[in-house]
Symmetry: D2
């Protein structure tokens, strides 16, 4: 396996239930997204968590870190809610020999117009082309979690 993809929830996986009139985190949408892309790279998708990233605990972050550490793949992609993506990025520092790229979406993958496909493609590509380390692929750029933030008002990531 060349690339391991872990999903943890967030807007990218949000689905809508009419009866309850609110959003819930559903099955990882990435599996369907990747079907149209005709990938020949070898990858596996594993659902670790299904949470809004504001609800992630320290234990959740340790669970994610342990999964990355145990993975046989050197290239790891993690889909994650954007609100605390940077915090999880900080919790993933120091795993030698792993290129870890986090990504998510501002609009759910189920929407007709969404940034999900672009972001996932960007993360999978970055995982193959960057040296070992932890990165965030959002808004068409690669960010270092140690030197970036989510600008909530503008709804985008930026370097600080």
């Amino acid at each position: 396996m060349q690339i391991e993809i872990f999903t943890t929830g967030g807007t990218i996986d949000k689905i809508y239930f009419d009866a309850k009139s609110n959003y819930e985190i559903g099955e990882p949408q990435i599996v369907e997204l990747l079907r149209d892309a005709n990938l020949t790279v070898d990858y596996k998708v594993t659902s670790l968590l299904r949470k809004d990233s504001l609800e992630l605990t320290d234990d959740d972050r340790q669970l994610i870190r342990a999964a990355v550490e145990k993975s046989e793949a050197g290239n790891v992609v993690i889909t994650h809610g954007t609100d605390t993506m940077i915090s999880t990025g900080l919790a993933l520092q120091g795993l030698a020999g792993k290129t870890i790229v986090m990504t998510g979406a501002m609009q759910p993958a189920r929407f007709r117009f969404t940034d999900a496909i672009y972001n996932v493609a960007s993360a999978i590509t970055a995982a193959q082309t960057l040296p070992a380390g932890v990165y965030i692929a959002m808004n068409g750029q690669i960010f270092d979690p140690l030197r970036s933030r989510k600008n909530v008002e503008m709804n985008r990531f930026e370097t600080v």
Copy 2:
């Protein structure tokens, strides 16, 4: 400008005219594709040619090379028909200081299900993360035009 995107035609830009019942190469579709992705990276799209890549001549390839050479951007993406993408990749060798990533699509960007968005995202990311050189971003992988081919029967790129 961080990234210059040149379009040359190919399936990615194919559009359909009912009256004539055949496909023609239309306006670059990449502009609309990128609108949903909320890019904050600085890029410019320029339409160089609108041709099926089987119809590209040596003069066309020199025109593409000259445009890349003249570009102020160090990171260049070229959308191109897949049938002769490798030939153009060979014609772009030896341009110092430029990271050039070629991509295209097996299904037109106008389709409901298409590999166009994935491929363009992959190319834009690779252009930012790879060292100077010429690359092809297709099927979720990065190929070296000197060591790859299009497998026409399987409709995919592979390393040779």
Copy 3:
């Protein structure tokens, strides 16, 4: 004007704001939906309300009834949340000379996969082909609000 379309909110118009992590009723989505359909029929879209239909009051229903009564069009389409569509249908009885067709969606119009386009097309067609009266166009059928109900568990309308 041949057809007047009033929007009142409901799932069909739900949009998603990432920051607040909940759904809100947005601009009428019907305008964009109809753009792709190349309609040559003369129609106008007016936003009356932006409410989940569970929150509609008797005053809201009188407002909708007054708008239909005042409309110059003999053919009226109303987009509406599905939960209380039948109640509003009952409040619209007895308007002579008007063919009124209500519709909505189980999945928001913004989704990649939605029943919104089908339902709106069905309602606009029924408004042109049925005699004066009040109808509901959902699940590929035409219902009489006096003899139908929403089966919440099965998430569909049915005759009673």
Copy 4:
């Protein structure tokens, strides 16, 4: 069965093969289109022909007429290329007790932006609401084949 749907080809069913770089008529797209609409009406889809409508012969039209005549359904929808939809409509006159509605699309159903869903929904609705006869559902209107034409230049149907 309440509604029988016959497909005969045309733009609505056009699919694209990259290798040959031209369009061919594929499997009826209507089956997938209807999946998202949550229809509870009973319908069956049968593929009669897969032709560009300019290539339909008198024999083909007799085959379509025979299929409609033999159908147990009183409500029949026929998807058809737009160029000779009116000619086939004329060949279907005089079938007592049948409401027959023809439709098609200016943009293939596989496109991200298409009139196919709207048109099919309109035809299925008209088949349930109109008296026996032959109709064309296009551009948001219902046309009588005896008094309409396709305006090729404007790419739409109109009354004459």
